[in-house]
Subunit: 289 residues, 2 copies
Amino acid sequence: MLMKQMCFSCLFRQGVEAAWLLTDDSQKREAIIRASGRLMAEADFQRTPPELGRELHSAIREILHDPDPYLKIKRQMNAITNSIKPLLRERIRSAPDPLETAIRYAIAGNIIDFSTFDSISEAEIVKTVEKAANQPIIGLDTAKFKSELRKPENKTLLYVCDNCGEIVWDSLLIEELGKFVSVTAAVRGSAVVNDAILSDAEYAGLPALCRVITTGSDVPGAPEAMVSEEFREIFMDSDLVIAKGQGNFETMQPAKRSILHLFMVKCPVIAQLVQLPKGTLVGQILPEA
Amino acid sequence: MLMKQMCFSCLFRQGVEAAWLLTDDSQKREAIIRASGRLMAEADFQRTPPELGRELHSAIREILHDPDPYLKIKRQMNAITNSIKPLLRERIRSAPDPLETAIRYAIAGNIIDFSTFDSISEAEIVKTVEKAANQPIIGLDTAKFKSELRKPENKTLLYVCDNCGEIVWDSLLIEELGKFVSVTAAVRGSAVVNDAILSDAEYAGLPALCRVITTGSDVPGAPEAMVSEEFREIFMDSDLVIAKGQGNFETMQPAKRSILHLFMVKCPVIAQLVQLPKGTLVGQILPEA
C-alpha cells in the first residue's frame, strides 16, 4: 500500500513523538524534528508507509547515536505481555477451540502499544485484551483454516511477527500451530521502532518452538524488494504464511503467494482500506496477486 | 506562546490537509507536502505557531500561484454564519443580558471551521452553536466588564478579529460594544488560511459599525514584531482591547498592555496552557506583562 494522505501526517507525528519519548536533550529533539521534516521534503513518496518509517527511524537512531533507542520500551512491552502469558495459555488450553482463542490473543496483543504501556495497569491490560479477544475475527473462517492446517500437503508455515509485546502472545499461537505444521517464525533483521528482533524472539521462547529467521531488513514490514534472499525463499517455499500486524499488511501486498493476514485495525487509513472500524480484529486470507 | 511539541505535528498536518483541500493536482499536492516538510526542517522554532503558520501558508500560496486559495471556503464560511445572523441578532436583542449573549455567539462562531463546514447542515450549525452559546464563559465576569465599558475614561476599544465565518457574528458583538465605546476592528493585512481580511470585514458590515484597520501582516495572529506601525499605535492607544481566537492569543502574549482574550479552546496545547478542556468558551483578561 503506497503512502496515503494521512500517512504523511502520521509519520511526521511519529517523528515528533519519538523526539520527546526518546531523549530529554532539546538539541537532539530539534534534530529529530528537522530530520522528520527533511524526510517529508525529500523522500520517494511512491513507497509504502513502513519503508518511509524505516528511513525515519534510521535517522532517529543516527541522531541519538543509539542502535536501538526503543530497547527499554520494548523490554517493558515484552515484560507486560509475559506477565499475563501463563493466564492466556491456560485460557487457550481450556477453550473449546484453542486455535481460534490463540489467534484472538495473538491479534489482541497488538493493542499493547508503547504509546499507552506506561499509563496502563496489568489489570487494565487484562480487561482490554479480554474485551478485544471476545470480538469476532472478521474475515477468518477458523474451521476452514484448521482444515487447511490439517491437509497432508501443508507441512510448513512461515509466521511473520510484528511488534514486541505481542510476540510473547504470538508464541502461544505458534505453540498451537506447531500441533499441525512445522513453523518458521520471522522477526525484523535489526532494530526499528518497537518491532520484534531476534532477542525478542528468544525472550518469547520461540527458538524452543520453531525455527527463527529474520527478514534481513530494518523495515517495520517485509516488502519483497528489501528482504533477504533467505526470507524470500522461505516465504515462497512455505506451504502457508501468516503475517501479523499492519506493517506487514502494508508492505506484503500485492504478494506472489497467498497470505493470511492477522491484525487489529489501528489507523484510519487501514480502516478505510479494509472497510472496517478501528479496533476490529481482522483475519484476511489474500490470494496470490 | 512558542511552538510546543504538538504544534509541530499539527502544523505539518495542516500542510498535508491543505494539499488535498486546495488542489486536485498531484504534483502540486506533493510540492505542498515537501514544502511543509522543508518548513519543519529549516524553520526558526523559537517562534509562535501562527508565525510558522504564516510561512506554511505563504509557501502554499506560492505553489498554487493563488494569492488567496481559501477564498471559496472563506466565502462559504461567511455565507453560513450570515444565514443565521438575523436569528442571532434577534436572540441577542431579546436576551436579559445582550452583551453577554453577543460575547457567547462571537466566541461560539469559532466552531464554524473549514474542516467541518461542508458536511454540516444549517440546522446542525444552529444546534452546535446553541449548545456552545449556552456554556459559561470561563474567566469572564461580564458585569465587571460592562462596568469597565461604562467608565467615562474608557472611550475606545480595539477588536482584533480572527476567522471568516465568525467575523459575521463578531459584528453583532461590535454592535453591542458600540453602545458603550468607539470601536476599531482589525483584520489581517492580507490573505492567510481562513483568517478574515478587509473584504470579509466589508461582507460582515463592519465599516458601517466601526473603523476598520488591518494588522498590516499576513500572520494568522498579531505578533508585535510583525504588525504595522498603525496597528501598534492603535493597539497601545485604545482604552480597551479585545482579541478573538487562538491565533491572537498565541501571538499577543506577553503584551505591553492588558487584553481581553475571547476564544474557544480548540486544541490540546491551548487546553493544557489554560487548564480547560477543548470546547470551553474562554474570556480571559490578561494584564500588561
